[in-house]
Assembly symmetry: D2
Homo-oligomer: 136 residues x 4
């Protein structure tokens, strides 16, 4: 499964180069992840209420085209890798109006308990995610 | 007492008008507050560890001059009003190089417990703040 | 006219109190403003391309209830005051699921040219805004 | 050369996990870069005034330990690769009080003109950077 999210670029997200400041793409990726979980049948919010957290342990982005204020962007999110102890998401951000690829990247997450200790993803979440089919 | 903090404008804080995006001044005010507490003899971090939180219930800013990337700004912070149930801070932001007033504003805080219920400021913090002398 | 915008709270917008960090409401207000212009028949982006900018010269917010990660929030925006040299917008932010008022505030803007010098709002924008009817 | 920058974690930079939200490390890297340029004898601000921009074309971070509100962090920045058409910076972020490694990463930049077209780094900047010695 690939989930699709849409964001409209906020003025606050631009910088004096007149385009989206690069670190904001990691916030867009987070929106993609939130929607991916929702489409898998649960919410990340529920998961945290169940005391499972998904901190980012690694992330990467490359930038192909600038994105501008008021642009509508599509964030395509997929789960590349899933195990009880590690998840990896892939993201592609395109501009809606011209379908150009703006940026792409990934994030890696280790599930933890509220104290930050590694834990396993509970079965109900794992099976919901599994049924979505990780990429490989 | 007035505490003085210094920040250098980050690229991330600019917008496509080429100046600091307005909401970032509330982050500068927060830095001013953090330093004000530190100069009063304790840290806000300690206060939270003692289960006293200071959420913002009201805030205001007016902007007189734009601030630019890499500008060094001074934040002057003072406590205008202090009671067991309410604090009000005043802030003035000036540019270091030309002493121009960039922005000024205030924030009002109600102390709460970790659940967000109003609470009283513990005496040790209150007396530390009192000895700094609220403005009026 | 009141325009209505919807945002979903991002994880990035929360702080360690577990709620939306206060300065982010000014970003929500900016989204409300962008949508208000769009519903008036033009975009703020167009206006900037016409060399008219609308920097914030004053802003205020008061906070009534915390907003949480993944909450859907409605931003109601209206134009309280409009002249060729000054605009004032009012905002109310409510939580969708329980209709509670989260925060309300305002922002004041002076139109400027790209160099930051005050200018008049061009007639085409002024009449589009006027036909929406400022509050008073 | 390695330049050293210091930042104190802002409340605004934390999230509801109680630690620094991951994308903020790219802002810390930007501070490191700004200081690296300054120590090389010029400022990035000057470079932009000379119509040379350094957009990020790629960036990466991995997270080893959480950083907390009010922590003092050191950002160590070095130039790993330098040519007229491409720069790569490496960053390490450590916590001052216990010297623990919090995060490390890199960013790659292509110099461009104000329109975003690739350009060459002017000789005066290149030689200033060269004299600092890229890592390899």
């Amino acid at each position: 499964m690939k989930s699709i999210s849409t964001v409209r670029v906020r003025y606050a997200e631009t910088d004096q180069m007149g385009m989206v400041y690069h670190s904001n793409f990691f916030v867009y990726f987070e929106i993609g992840r939130t929607d991916f979980f929702r489409e898998s049948g649960f919410t990340y919010r529920m998961m945290e209420q169940d005391n499972v957290f998904m901190p980012v342990v690694e992330c990467y982005c490359r930038y192909l085209q600038p994105a501008f204020y008021d642009d509508e962007l599509c964030i395509q999110t997929q789960l590349e890798m899933l195990s009880r102890l590690r998840l990896k998401f892939l993201y592609q951000v395109t501009r809606k109006v011209d379908s150009r690829l703006i940026a792409e990247g990934y994030s890696v997450h280790f599930p933890t308990n509220p104290k930050g200790k590694p834990c396993r993803i509970p079965s109900k979440y794992l099976s919901a995610l599994n049924s979505e089919g990780a990429v490989s």
